[in-house]
């Protein structure tokens, strides 16, 4: 590679300038306030983790991780998500703290990008983890909290799609003993390739009624009514249990009063072999990609030696920024206080008094009043000048 130009940054890295950062921080504060009121406590973990522990446990593919070597020669990764580090903490430093635990984070995570240079490789997330609660009410809490978070920051139109990994698995197990065939179907769903799914189906020699049912899976999304439809599609125990879980989840979410913003989607598969139960993904109007994602991951904690049920979600802040209204609080009063050298002491004391009153004060040394006058009308609400002549 040619030597980078002085202003260049590594692929996918970006600067956030004051205006955007102010908006991001504002959103983060609103989310923090919302999440804290549900009893979640903030946690911070290191940016670097061992590849063999957190890296291997993470839901992110290895080739998307930034891997490097530390001074001892261990492979370390820039954390690709916050869930695995939190699982590590809960199983180590927090191993004697009783469950359930409610933790949240606002942190940057890293994922190497291959395609367009404009895609972020470092991005900010706000997320929660609810660890040690297997109940459907824990799933409902995570989904409802996601809804309330989006409402808190004023996302106007959004939907959260909800699925269950066991429904697809059970439905496939009902008809196919061969695991490799089941995996092919699952792979098509992960790749969102319904055409491939149907083509594979048409090549297999099975009961036409089974084909119809599996094909119906592709259309199985909508409101509460889809639950009965899902029930009628399968006799498999695993899939049936998944439907019953979704049914009680929906009841709980009705109790939260959030079902208007939800969509059941029985073919939703987010990440193969990571999630273990209810999964969900949030979308907003006019935003091409998901705003948030989450679900139940009951196997992760065991990898760190403290088996526990868990669920959670992460909101992608860069996408949230695109769909939230610009905050229009009154602009802070900014004062420019100019002073000549002999008035420094008085000027700086005056500036401090004004700051204590809540004003923004910038100070600047000038030669005379005429120079101070040239700053009038720039980015300041008011320009004050302290010079000897005034006395």
């Amino acid at each position: 590679m040619a030597k980078p130009l002085g202003f260049e940054k590594p692929l996918g890295m970006r600067d956030i300038l004051p205006d955007s950062l102010a908006k991001q921080r504002h959103l983060e504060r609103s989310l923090r306030q919302c999440i804290e009121r549900w009893g979640y406590e903030e946690i911070s973990t290191p940016s670097l983790e061992y590849y063999d522990t957190v890296g291997a446990a993470s839901a992110t593919l290895t080739d998307r991780m930034f891997r490097l070597l530390d001074k001892q020669g261990h492979t370390v990764v820039l954390r690709p998500d916050m869930t695995a580090p939190i699982a590590r903490v809960v199983s180590s430093l927090y191993k004697d703290v009783p469950l359930p635990l409610r933790l949240f984070y606002q942190a940057n995570v890293f994922r190497a990008q291959e395609k367009e240079a404009g895609r972020n490789a470092e991005f900010f997330q706000t997320g929660i983890e609810l660890i040690g609660d297997a109940s459907v009410d824990a799933d409902a809490e995570a989904i409802a909290l996601a809804v309330f978070c989006l409402r808190a920051v004023g996302v106007e139109t959004f939907r959260i799609a909800i699925g269950h990994v066991d429904f697809v698995d059970g439905l496939l197990e009902e008809w196919f003993e061969d695991e490799s065939i089941r995996n092919q179907f699952r792979q098509y769903l992960v790749e969102r390739d319904f055409v491939g799914f149907r083509q594979l189906l048409s090549t297999l020699d099975i009961d036409p009624a089974a084909k119809e049912r599996l094909e119906a899976l592709l259309r199985l999304r909508g409101g509460k009514g889809k639950i009965d439809e899902a029930r009628s599609l399968t006799e498999n125990g695993k899939a049936r249990r998944a439907v019953e879980t979704i049914a009680s989840l929906w009841e709980a979410l009705e109790a939260y009063g959030v079902t208007d913003d939800l969509l059941l989607d029985f073919n939703l598969i987010i990440n193969l072999n990571y999630y273990t139960g209810v999964v969900f993904e949030g979308y907003a109007a006019d935003l091409g990609s998901p705003l948030l994602g989450g679900g139940r991951y009951d196997h992760l904690l065991a990898q760190f030696g403290r088996p526990a049920h868990a669920t959670g979600f992460a909101i992608k802040m860069d996408r949230l920024l695109l769909v939230t209204p610009v905050m229009d609080g009154p602009p802070a009063t900014r004062i420019l206080l100019c002073y000549t050298e002999d008035q420094r002491t008085e000027a700086l004391a005056e500036a401090q008094l004004l700051r204590e009153d809540g004003l923004v004060v910038v100070t600047r040394l000038v030669k005379n009043q005429a120079e101070a006058a040239t700053f009038q009308g720039e980015a300041y609400s008011k320009v004050i000048c302290l010079t000897k002549q005034e006395e």
């Binding site: 139109t157 969102r192 491939g196 913003d261 993904e281 979308y283 109007a285 091409g288 990609s289 998901p290």
Partner: protein, 215 residues
């Protein structure tokens, strides 16, 4: 907050070129209001009044890009483009139009060479295919008139889509290996698939009725 009030206006990305005419005909059969403008204008964005539809006319290889980023909710595009572009979109339906084959072609007297070179508009498809065949080849990306490459000695074979085979024949080339069959697909953006599920389902079911039942 509720999604019932979302205006479910759908933006459809259409591919100019090879499959355009057939695709427009398909839309008409599906009962979509297709204005004359769509066929003959140089405009790139064409709204359809009263139908809550809007068409974007794009270069075929760009259709999945528009759909992935959500500036178009759905798109009509060949499987060749989908295989090459590897975009993150829903592939909802095989419209079974725009049929052609992805082929390896070469001169009739082609023999394996020590340093085989393959010219193609589809470098990803070509590399993937030869890798899977256990062959090592050098893939050369061209942007058009791929048939020229073997004639003037740039490459010994090409990978390209073939529908009637006339172009190959006229340039003295023959089909050597069949990679896969290509048809036109309906694709959808990940978020639109959920946010505008009613409108997307509506168009998909209209299309489904038209899809000719192939024996």
């Amino acid at each position: 907050m509720s999604f019932s009030d979302i205006s479910q206006k759908l933006t459809i990305a259409m591919p100019k070129g090879r499959i355009f005419e057939e695709a427009v005909h398909f839309l008409q059969q599906a009962g979509l209001q297709v204005t004359a403008e769509l066929q003959d204008s140089r405009k790139l964005v064409i709204p359809v009044e009263n139908a809550r539809l809007e068409f974007i006319l794009a270069k075929p290889t760009d259709v999945p890009t528009y759909v992935e980023y959500g500036v178009a909710d759905v798109g009509v595009v060949g499987k060749d483009v989908l295989l090459e572009e590897e975009r993150d979109v829903y592939e909802l339906l095989d419209l079974q139009i725009g049929y052609c084959r992805m082929m390896v072609a070469g001169m009739p007297d082609w023999k394996p060479t020590d340093a085989p070179r393959v010219a193609t508009k589809y470098p990803k498809i070509a590399s993937r295919y030869f890798r899977e065949q256990g062959q090592q080849v050098e893939v050369i990306k061209l942007n058009g008139s791929v048939e020229l490459a073997p004639m003037i000695g740039l490459a010994d074979r090409i990978v390209d889509i073939v529908s009637t085979g006339r172009t190959l024949k006229e340039n003295g080339l023959v089909e050597l290996e069949h990679i896969c069959e290509i048809t036109t697909r309906l694709i959808a953006n990940r978020a639109s698939y959920r946010m505008k599920s009613e409108a997307v389902d509506d168009i998909a079911s209209k299309f489904l009725e038209v899809i000719p039942k192939r024996s």
